[in-house]
Amino acid sequence: MSVERRTLMKAIAGAAGLASVQGLFPAWAQTGSRGIAPTITTLTGPDIALTVGHAPFSVGGRTGHAITVNGTLPAPLLRLREGQRARLSVTNTLDEDTSIHWHGILLPFQMDGVPGISFPGIRPGETFVYDFPVRQAGTYWYHSHSGLQEAVGHFGPMIIDPAGDDPVAYDREHVVVLSDWSFLHPHEILRRLKASPGYFNQQRTTVAGLLTGEDRMSASERRMWAGMRMDPRDISDVTGSIYTYLVNGHGPEENWTGLFEPGERVRLRIINASAMTNFNVRIPGLAMTVVQADGENVRPVETDEIQIAVAETYDVIISPREDRAYTIVSEAVDRSGMGRATIAPRLRMSAEVPPLRQVPNLTMRDMGMDMGGMDMTGMEGMDHGSMDHGAMNMRDPSLAPPGMAVGVGVQTISPMPENRLAERPLGLENEPHRVLVYTDLVALNPNRDTRQPSRTLEIHLTGNMERYMWGFDGRRFSEIVEPIRFERDERVRVTLVNDTMMQHPIHLHGHFFELVNGQGANQPLKHTVNVAPGGRLSFDLTADAPGDWAFHCHMMMHMHSGMFNIVSIRPLDGIAS
């Protein structure tokens, strides 16, 4: 949408006596935002009132139904300070239950906001007061944990300022909330995925793509994939065919714009609040210095592109020196669409928007086949057609941990899952510029718990794409699974093995875990980690928060299909009031 058209729309909206288009956004998310200065309205203080309700949401000239907090999408920015007490009263004006989960926040489990685990949920017409001490600082977010409300707008950013000095120096800051919006109701999206798993994929391999070479995949490779009933283009379940990718609630044409003065150090607090979309974020012409991941400070590391999985946050510092605009590109990992925003010295400036890059093809590594370090080019000489009947068993139950159910919900078991933390994320392998990898993350301060883990636990992320079933260790949560149990304060090395060909951003409530990425005492703390297809990774967990906590894939449709469990930490002694 051009500036002129926006102005026109505002004029029309004003003439009709309606709230202006801009009025539907909280101040910090309004385009032309000067940044989050103390004068700009955010919700702060010990007592904050939030109201969940229905609201219309417009993007791309179309209006749909959203569930919002205080009437805006994204929800208001909550700005708290480490050491304060937070009392957040949430009133439900919907005709269904709602909830708010404070994502990444360390708090008593009964304040965590997951209906059925932390509390009963908030009934229509009721108000629930969340009351907890704020024990940390950083960039976080909050969202509904009821049904699929998060997918229709019920999410917002949360910043906690440190009690002391912030180790990160910056002159100005902007919150960049990434999300995916569909006019199709998320329940209907999930129904269609169950009916036809490739329903939203408009980038599959075709005969035309073979003949023109555009698919970048030979006939023999295709035959191998087909023999396994696997789709090498199955990268995102829900795609740009129905999603509009938003930045601070603005579509690409509406071009959310944040301002800067050349020479300033600008802190971008990037939050992926999507339901189903991992994004590749870059700002052509500017390097980004990552200073925080998932709210925890890391040693500054400069990069050009970051893949941010659903529910992760990254804080980056950019230092634009020129008097020009820059485009913030948030490209969906499957390249089916992008979010676009601008940072500029003045309004009505824009920079070139790069075209979408080629859709990636999955490789054997994404199926957990290491092939001795060979990449696809190394496999050219193999008879791919015979793969499914000889070289590699794609579903060998002996590779499953004891207790895993190898049933209809397990399509494949990664034969040779690799630790892929040092690898560039999916689709960014061959970018000519720098790309952030998980091993780049080093905690700024050494971790408090230096004990060796006293035991290990392996959890497989399992699924069947053809049935759209997802679970842990072969079971959907609805199959009455046993919770994952930890002794209070025990230190456990948890290994996640991805038996599927999709990325799974796994989130543990109420804790940070240390990603075992070779950084020793400075392993980065995270609340969400994206497990690469066919990959494995480990984290060390100090189970220091007694109670029951959700543990799940943050892809909403994967979670809703069963990739969910409860982490149960006992004993509870001394925590009941």
């Binding site: 009963p120 005969v207 009947h389 579903r395 590779l399 290990t456 759209y468 009455i480 109670g547």
Partner: protein
């Protein structure tokens, strides 16, 4: 004796069919190379027995246990327990050949969870100018038995120009390697007649929207069924090719051509009756997903 044969025959038949359709992983007997990372336990991190359970449902200490129990039920439903439905209109078409203008439909649908489903199928063919030649409705319980295949059992009611029939059905349906959608079923009628049907189709994506679908169907009878002018052995086959344009997955009109032929003794019987035993027709129709 005939009843025993009627019961045994379909079992043999069905036992043979799923074998072809089984998850190919089960054929893979070769042992894969061991995963060097499979056991990553070190001396300092023994795999210990998980701790004892302690109290269940910690939130019951803070909130009304009845309200928590209700919320837990909801949580289960919302994390894998969802029941849903689909209607797949595979074909709704008109056919044209030298003799007549015909119609046909093939539609199926289901309701249920990921594993257990109520499944129904209906199909019909006939000429516009005549009475319904053949219509049938199957009501089935469908259970996921392998990652790619469902086992289905139930009843079929057929409405034929000669007489209506009821069969018990046992079949499999699913996805074979190389993305072939396949199905096979055995039918035992209330008269004790045993018949079977196998179907396969394949979607060849020419572009993202333009899809060429070859499909084939083969029918079999275990014995002569004089009422239906059917002889023992393969009774008829049907091969079609349809080119559809997917305006969306939910709405895809197509054109195509279909060849149908009676086979074996059935062909002889129908020839002796002076009936058509073979036809080729052009078809135009709609594929849809609801």
């Amino acid at each position: 004796m005939r009843m025993i044969a009627a019961v045994v025959a379909p079992l043999v038949l069905v036992a043979a069919m799923p074998a072809a359709a089984q998850d190919h992983a089960q054929h893979e007997t070769q042992t894969p190379a061991p995963d060097p990372h499979a056991v990553h336990t070190t001396a300092t991190t023994p795999q210990a027995i998980p701790p004892a359970s302690g109290e269940a449902n910690a939130a019951d200490l803070y909130f009304d246990p009845a309200a928590m129990a209700h919320a837990r039920e909801q949580l289960v439903t919302e994390n894998g327990g969802m029941r849903t439905h689909a209607i797949i209109l595979e074909r709704l078409e008109a056919g044209f050949d030298d003799e007549a203008e015909t119609y046909a439909w093939h539609v199926q649908g289901w309701y249920g969870g990921d594993v257990h489903r109520f499944w129904w199928k209906s199909e019909s063919e006939g000429a516009f100018s005549e009475e319904v030649e053949h219509a049938e409705l199957q009501l089935l319980y469908s259970r996921a038995v392998t990652p790619y295949f469902d086992l289905q059992a139930g009843v079929r009611q057929s409405y034929l120009d000669s007489e209506d029939r009821t069969d018990f059905v046992l079949g499999v349906q699913g996805l074979a390697p190389y993305w072939f959608e396949v199905g096979a079923a055995a039918f035992v009628s209330t008269e004790g007649d045993v018949t079977a049907r196998a179907e396969a189709e394949y979607d060849l994506r020419l572009t993202q929207k333009l899809i060429l679908q070859p499909a084939a169907e083969l029918n079999f009878a275990a014995q002569d069924i004089p009422d239906l002018d059917v002889g023992a052995g393969f009774t008829d086959a049907n091969i079609g090719v349809r080119l559809r344009y997917e305006f969306s997955r939910s709405f895809a009109p197509y054109v195509g051509v279909e060849w149908t032929s009676a086979l074996g003794e059935t062909r002889d019987i129908r020839e002796s009756l002076g009936a058509d035993t073979q036809s080729t027709r052009a078809v135009i129709g709609l594929r849809a997903l609801f």
